[in-house]
């Protein structure tokens, strides 16, 4: 499962769903650590700089 699918599936379950732990456990250490430490900025940075997605182009804020 790639990171994009992970985020899509994460968005499809509620916070107390047991699947969350399983989904998070399958992710790379960087994404997993960012998620578990509630660090959205780190997660975004990872997603912006590492080629997780096939069609990546830049994003601006």
């Amino acid at each position: 499962m790639d990171t994009f699918q992970f985020l899509e599936q994460l968005a499809s379950v509620v916070h107390h769903h047991p699947k969350i732990d399983q989904l998070v456990g399958q992710q790379s250490a960087e994404i997993r650590n960012a998620f578990l430490s509630n660090n959205g900025n780190a997660m975004k940075k990872q997603l912006s700089t590492v080629n997780y997605f096939a069609d990546m182009v830049g994003v601006s804020e």
Binding site: T3, F4, L7, E8, L10, A11, H15, I20, F35, N38, G40, N41, M43, K44, L47, S48, Y52, F53, A54, D55, M56, V57, G58, V59, S60, E61
Partner: protein
């Protein structure tokens, strides 16, 4: 509204996919051309996967030094695309008309040119703020300003109401720089706010969560620490009311109300 083609402006919300409304999703899926400017890479990927016509406005956004020039160019590009008589959907993050000039301007002009136009609301940072900080804007009123605008025009407001300042992390910054030293702008803001609030009055830095099941960033600190606080480009400042407003007895009497 007799021209072919249409322009629908939608907001993607703040949190990846979770905040997309059904109607926004439908327009992203079914439009002939999708143009988008979102600030999060997964959402960008989702839009590209959902509609093969999708095109990022990011290259235009970053090709001008001043953001205002970028916005003007984006507006023109949206209108040029629309004039090809396509059903165009423009996706902006958050709510598409809140602190977002180019989409709104394009819709206004497209309407004048005779095209069908529609704006679909999205979940904005302030909606997340109301939920996460448990605030009812109807409880004592709520005023919100873009932070630079707030200072330049010395906006008048009521300190007995909730106060929200957008784009607190880029006061006086009109370009695209990535690393922003906001301390000077924050010091000027502090100087203005101390006319209304005590230095010890607690304020809140808020950043809405952009990913499912992450918590929003909520940092409470005294107003006096404003210049030393690290803000990002998605930070919003919330200032709680500092006192309770007095009821006007004359008005109460006129309305036959007894709610003391």
């Amino acid at each position: 509204m007799n021209k072919k083609g249409s322009l629908v402006l939608v907001g993607s919300g703040i949190k990846f996919v979770s905040h997309l409304t059904t109607e926004a999703k439908n327009y992203i899926e079914q439009s002939e051309k999708v143009l988008y400017l979102v600030n999060e890479p997964a959402m960008q990927e989702w839009i590209q996967k959902t509609n093969k016509s999708a095109e990022s406005l990011d290259p235009i956004y970053t090709s001008y030094n001043l953001r205002l020039d970028s916005y003007r160019a984006i507006t023109e590009y949206i209108l040029d695309t629309l004039r090809q008589e396509l059903h165009v959907c423009v996706v902006l993050y958050g709510h598409p008309t809140i602190v977002a000039i180019p989409g709104l301007e394009a819709v206004k002009r497209a309407k004048l040119e005779g095209f069908y136009t529609k704006i679909l609301p999205g979940i904005s940072a302030v909606d997340c703020l109301f939920a996460d900080l448990m605030i009812d804007p109807g409880s004592c009123g709520c005023q919100s300003f873009e932070a630079t605008d707030f200072l330049i025009y010395q906006r008048k407001f009521d300190p007995s109401s909730h106060l929200i300042l957008w784009q607190i992390g880029s006061i006086g910054i009109l370009d695209h720089r990535k690393v922003i030293d906001n301390s000077k702008g924050a010091a000027i803001l502090l100087d203005y706010l101390t006319q209304f609030y005590r230095l010890e009055h607690d304020v809140i830095l808020f950043e809405a969560a952009q990913y499912p099941h992450l918590e929003s960033k909520i940092e409470t600190f005294p107003l006096k620490d404003l210049p030393q606080t690290q803000f990002s480009t998605i930070s919003t400042l919330y200032i709680p009311p500092i006192y309770k407003a007095n009821q006007d007895k004359h008005i109460l009497k006129q309305l036959n109300l007894d709610i003391s």
